[in-house]
């Protein structure tokens, strides 16, 4: 640990009173002498208190019975200085109860004051040295040009393809080769996948060559107001998750999207809402927009190399890493981890089962279930995917195995291993356990302590090439599987996915959710709400998406690399320590990378060497690390295919403006002759809702749903935003914050502002940062820096923690090596033991023509007292010898060898299920069967003093001269 951290640890131990008296004395002395330590100490003490205070405040706000209490001071701690500076003035001068309107007036009065210096600056044209001023002038000139051309009192507003906007939209232009298609990324993070041949002309012919694409992103409230993009659909208010405008051009002409090859659009969001749909924007002849034709979003899945997916239960891999070195393995590579899992994913050390002399815990875990695994794989290869068949075959084998134990047949070593697994997985009936003398209680305990609920074999089965082109091979499915691992008896739910590979992923999610209860149900309902479709729909986009994600991933990797290098450059001793054990590093860094990979939710991809896909006028360098967009997790983008050029909006229905409304009168102060050039919006910025109000006789009515509406809380903070063009072509701006449930009337006060100021005002509406002051911006910058630092920190923490772990592992290393030697020796011993078992299975021989029979008493070691021939072994040998009528056929002349006859000795001693286990010649086998079936009743086998059904093998050796 670094010394700095050590110091913090010390302070902490002092504060939580973990120190010994001696340590306390030493610490206190240092505290008195060391100024830095002292300050650090004070900071941490305060910090502890602040943590508690913060949590208590949360509790008070949460549990206070009275709604709408004034917690603003607490809630806006970040902006406390600013808010207080603004309002203290107001407070001092208003001792009476104050109406909302007054408060708002006071605020806007301040805004006017704020604005004044800017206006002065603008008027002072001789000093116009800054580019900003020049821009503003140019802008003004343009506007007055328009005003000169246009008839008086007709709108002077800026236009964009018929849309009346307040500021000129920022258009991003991309050039796409229609032969190859492209994945385009807008500056605010919108992703547009353009498949090849995606565009057609009016006659429906596919366009060849280059197409230019115009993109406007209006993802924030700021942009939506600036471009006059209201969120209304035929009188209903919507809440937006972002709007974009996409228009392809070929040779300067607008072109259409090929209906068979739609664009695929992803819009980033911080706050995923499953109710969102995609809407198409239609601009009316007033220059306003209306949204139509809502469609469900469809998120495509991206295929990922199966080997890059983690289908194992959470923490299994960690457990394997922790268990290293295991046997001959120093490093847990993927193959070992997988095979351990497939073999036995939750084998609980310390818990031992015995099958006869076979000790389950001493099993060679590796490749344990290999054989059955191969059977399944062969099935897939030979017969195609027929999962239910494979499952039944697997089940059959299990049943057979249990039958075999029940009938006390001998188990092969392999079968014993399989049986050990079944014990672990609690799939053995109690009766069978009793036969084996295994305490069922132990077994239940073992089951309760295991977290594996999915048969590892299922996992092995789906992680095969045949599934590589299904939704199984996606990051999204991986997430679902991780959730399934936590659910008891999840085999059947997994099977639902496998049986419904052709369906959309979300449909199966919903199916699964239906069968679940409680939190698991919620989990899968949330999955379903992500509306993930399937791979096959996305064929035409697949390649480009994959490439895009590959690029993204590379950039993330580069970024990680840079962070690591930076840390290395710091020359921390931790790094040197790491270098002491290269193999360990490799494992740990692998883990680190994986975690970083996970935290970014980035998708890996098939393509390793794909070329940049973007040809663009506004060049965007994919190799530059960028945080603008976290690559694809189902929760941080809205995605859908898109068929029509023009405006698109990701929105959800909010409320019907005319129904059950709570009204607020807005005195707009717009002169009636200027009404055409003015707009007043009702702006609920936390919901990204923008409703234009109708101004009649200078008044407008702002309508809200009644208080019961679930979004009403958000509406308590609503802004009335006014914008109008003055006769001079300048913009007048008005802004009033109000709570519709507390006030019935507000009044707008207008200020003339320039474009720069307008942007600033609009930006302040972004509801996370509705403070205008420099301090707020500083704090914002600080927060961002903190975020960046946190990223670096996260890396450092990982490294430090890894070092700690590596060190502790090294301490364990010697022990583990000794243990490993023991284990190796044991495996050898075990193999010998198995050989011994086989040789014990000795035979009797028939000599000459006369069959000579020798009976080996206990082919199966599971019973205390095996069954015996009445009269003993000698009697049996004699019985066989005298009853074995050697056939006269020449066919069988000269044949020597052994016939093994398998029988079950019933409790009453009679023989049943007599069959040839291993034959020599049909004719001889027939005689052997006859001899055995003619045998008199046996003395039944006994176990724990009771007679018991028991299977045994009677070997008959034939030797002819």
């Amino acid at each position: 640990m670094r010394p700095e951290l050590h110091q913090i640890e010390n302070i902490e131990r002092y504060l939580i009173q973990e120190m010994t008296a001696q340590e306390i004395a030493a610490f206190e002395q240092e505290l008195a002498n060391n100024e830095t330590l002292n300050q650090q100490f004070e900071n941490l003490k305060l910090l502890q208190k602040a943590v508690v205070r913060r949590a208590l405040k949360n509790d008070i706000q949460k549990f206070a019975p009275k709604k709408g209490l004034s917690f603003t001071k607490w809630a806006s701690i970040i902006g406390a200085v600013v808010v207080l500076a603004g309002l203290s003035f107001f407070w001092m001068n208003n001792n009476e109860n104050t109406s909302v309107a007054k408060e708002v007036t006071a605020k806007s009065a301040e805004n006017i004051n704020d604005a004044e210096p800017v206006d002065e600056l603008q008027e002072n044209e001789s000093n116009a040295s800054s580019t900003d001023n020049i821009t503003t002038q140019n802008q003004t000139a343009t506007f007055s040009d328009i005003s000169r051309l246009a008839p008086k009192n007709v709108s002077r507003r800026a236009k964009f393809n018929g849309l009346q906007t307040w500021l000129e939209p920022e258009v991003q232009r991309f050039s796409v080769n229609t032969k190859t298609g492209a994945a385009l990324e807008g500056k605010d993070g919108t992703l547009i996948v353009v498949p090849k041949h995606a565009f057609v002309d009016n006659a429906g012919n596919i366009i060849q060559g280059n197409v230019e694409i115009e993109l406007i992103e209006a993802l924030s409230m700021e942009d939506m107001i600036a471009y006059n993009l209201a969120t209304t659909a035929n009188g209903k208010a919507l809440s937006s998750g972002g709007m974009i405008y996409v228009q392809p051009y070929a040779n300067g002409e607008k072109v259409n999207i090929n209906p068979k090859r739609p664009l695929y659009i992803e819009i980033p969001t911080d706050d995923y809402d499953p109710e969102m749909k995609s809407w198409r924007g239609v601009v009316d002849n007033q220059g306003d927009i209306n949204w139509e034709n809502p469609q469900d979003l469809q998120k495509y899945l991206v295929r990922v190399d199966l080997n890059q997916l983690d289908f194992l239960p959470p923490n299994f891999e960690n457990a394997v890493h922790t268990g290293m070195p295991f046997r001959k393995h120093k490093v847990a590579d993927k193959r070992l981890v997988d095979s351990l899992y497939y073999g036995l994913n939750s084998f609980k050390l310390g818990q031992t089962f015995r099958i006869g002399d076979f000790d389950c815990s001493q099993n060679d875990l590796e490749y344990l279930f290999g054989d059955i695994g191969y059977i399944v794989e062969n099935n897939i290869r030979d017969k195609g995917i027929n999962f239910s068949e494979m499952v039944s075959e697997y089940q059959n084998r299990k049943t057979d195995l249990i039958k075999k134990v029940d009938s006390r047949s001998e188990l092969t070593t392999y079968e014993k291993k399989c049986f050990c697994l079944m014990l672990e997985r609690d799939q053995v009936p109690e009766k069978t356990l009793n036969i084996l003398g295994i305490n069922a209680q132990n077994n239940i305990e073992a089951k309760n302590s295991t977290h594996c609920y999915i048969d590892p074999l299922f996992i092995k089965t789906i992680k095969t090439e045949k599934f590589a082109n299904t939704f199984i091979a996606t990051k999204e499915f991986e997430t679902r599987l991780q959730a399934l691992h936590k659910i008891p008896n999840a085999d059947s739910y997994l099977k639902l996915y496998i049986d419904n590979l052709q369906k959309n992923l979300w449909e199966v999610d919903a199916l699964v959710a239906k069968q679940l209860t409680g939190e698991h149900k919620t989990t899968f309902e949330n999955f379903a709400a992500q509306k993930c479709t399937n791979l096959k729909d996305a064929e035409i986009h697949q390649e480009l998406l994959s490439e895009y994600y590959a690029q993204k991933r590379k950039s993330f990797e580069a970024e990680n690399q840079a962070l690591q290098e930076k840390y290395n450059a710091m020359g921390k001793e931790a790094v040197q320590k790491i270098q002491q054990d290269i193999s360990n590093i490799r494992v740990e860094l692998g883990k680190l990378e994986k975690q970083q990979f996970k935290t970014r939710n980035s998708l890996s991809s098939l393509a390793q060497n794909s070329n940049p896909v973007l040809n663009s006028n506004t060049t965007r360098d994919f190799s530059t690390p960028s945080f603008s967009r976290n690559v694809v997790s189902a929760n941080n983008t809205y995605a859908t295919p898109w068929y029509e050029p023009g405006w698109m909006n990701i929105d959800k229905y909010l409320f019907n403006i005319t129904e059950n409304s709570v009204d607020v009168q807005v005195a707009t102060n717009v002169k009636s002759e200027n009404a055409n050039n003015a707009k007043v919006y009702q702006c609920i910025n936390s919901l990204k809702t923008l409703i234009p109000l109708r101004i009649t006789n200078g008044k407008a009515i702002s309508k809200f749903p009644s208080k019961g509406n679930k979004e009403a809380k958000a509406m308590e903070s609503t802004y009335a935003i006014g914008l109008q063009w003055s006769d001079q072509g300048k913009v007048l701006f008005a802004e009033q914050k109000f709570n519709p449930y507390k006030t019935q009337q507000i009044e707008l006060t207008w200020t003339e502002i320039d474009e720069k100021e307008l942007k600033k005002r609009l930006k302040s509406l972004d509801y996370t940062k509705n403070l205008l002051s420099n301090i707020a911006e500083q704090e914002k910058a600080m927060a961002e820096r903190a975020k960046l630092n946190a990223q670096i920190e996260a890396n450092k923490i990982q490294m430090d923690a890894l070092n700690l772990e590596i060190n502790s592992k090294k301490k364990q290393l010697d022990d583990l090596q000794i243990q490993a030697k023991k284990e190796a020796a044991f495996v050898e011993a075990l193999k010998k033991a198995i050989d011994v078992c086989k040789s014990e299975f000795s035979s009797i021989e028939l000599k000459n023509d006369l069959p000579e029979v020798e009976f080996t008493a206990a082919p199966i070691e599971l019973v205390e007292e095996p069954a015996t021939f009445s009269g003993g072994e000698v009697a049996m040998m004699n019985f066989i010898r005298s009853n074995f009528n050697f056939p006269k056929d020449t066919e069988v002349q000269g044949i020597s060898g052994k016939i093994y006859v398998e029988v079950i000795v019933e409790i009453d001693g009679t023989l049943s299920a007599i069959k040839i286990r291993k034959g020599l010649h049909p004719k001889l086998d027939e005689v052997a069967l006859r001899v055995v079936s003619n045998m008199p009743p046996f003395t039944p086998a006994r176990d724990k003093g009771l007679p018991i059904r028991h299977s045994m093998i009677i070997p008959i050796a034939i030797e002819q001269k």
């Binding site: 700095e4 913090i8 640890e9 650090q40 900071n43 305060l46 910090l47 502890q48 208190k49 602040a50 943590v51 508690v52 205070r53 913060r54 949590a55 208590l56 509790d59 008070i60 949460k62 549990f63 206070a64 009275k66 709408g68 209490l69 004034s70 917690f71 603003t72 001071k73 607490w74 701690i77 970040i78 406390a80 200085v81 808010v83 207080l84 309002l87 203290s88 107001f90 407070w91 001092m92 208003n94 001792n95 009476e96 109860n97 104050t98 408060e103 709570n739 507390k742 301090i775 600080m782 903190a786 975020k787 630092n789 946190a790 450092k796 990982q798 923690a801 700690l804 772990e805 502790s808």
Partner: protein, 210 residues
Amino acid sequence: MSELFLFFGLLFKKGNIKAKSKIMTDQQIIDFVRRGDNEKPIKVLYKEYPKIEKLILQSGGNKFMAEEIFNDSLLLLLEKIRDDKLVLSSKLSTYFYGINRFLLLNELRKSKKNDLSLEWSDTLIVSGEDLGYDFEKEQKLNAMERILNQISEKCKAILELFYFRKRSMEQIAHELNYSSVNSAKTQKFKCLERASAMAFEMIENQPKKA
């Protein structure tokens, strides 16, 4: 920095406090709060609000003030209770009224109202010293809270679990999915280090306002 403690008027509707919560003894309240179960105590203590509001109004405050003072007093009371050293010499409610009275006095002083002889019945007279209420410390605490708002969510979670919920590092490592207790510990120290560094930074860059 003194603005930090000016209370200001806020918009709110006239309150109607519902006293649904059952009655709790002082000891029950203390026990609940100490084990971090604040819901019931908060609801019970809120039943005092109408009376306290009335007192504050009579003493020259207004409703906005009343709410702020009440909430801050409640916060102080909960902090005091969590602090194991608290020894009650009176009923809890009497003490609570005392805190309210103290904070109101504080406020009135700031708004230059010098009528400082507030006669409240059933109210313990507490001083800033009794409360351990130090203006400078409160400022620092506020600053620290702002810092807390800027550290990562992960850090917030780990610190809150440890100091507020008093969870062990083992539990935290488990709850927040750390691979080991050591990584959780390291993470916690890093968070403390970061926050402390930000505090140093803030002290240096402190705007010197009147």
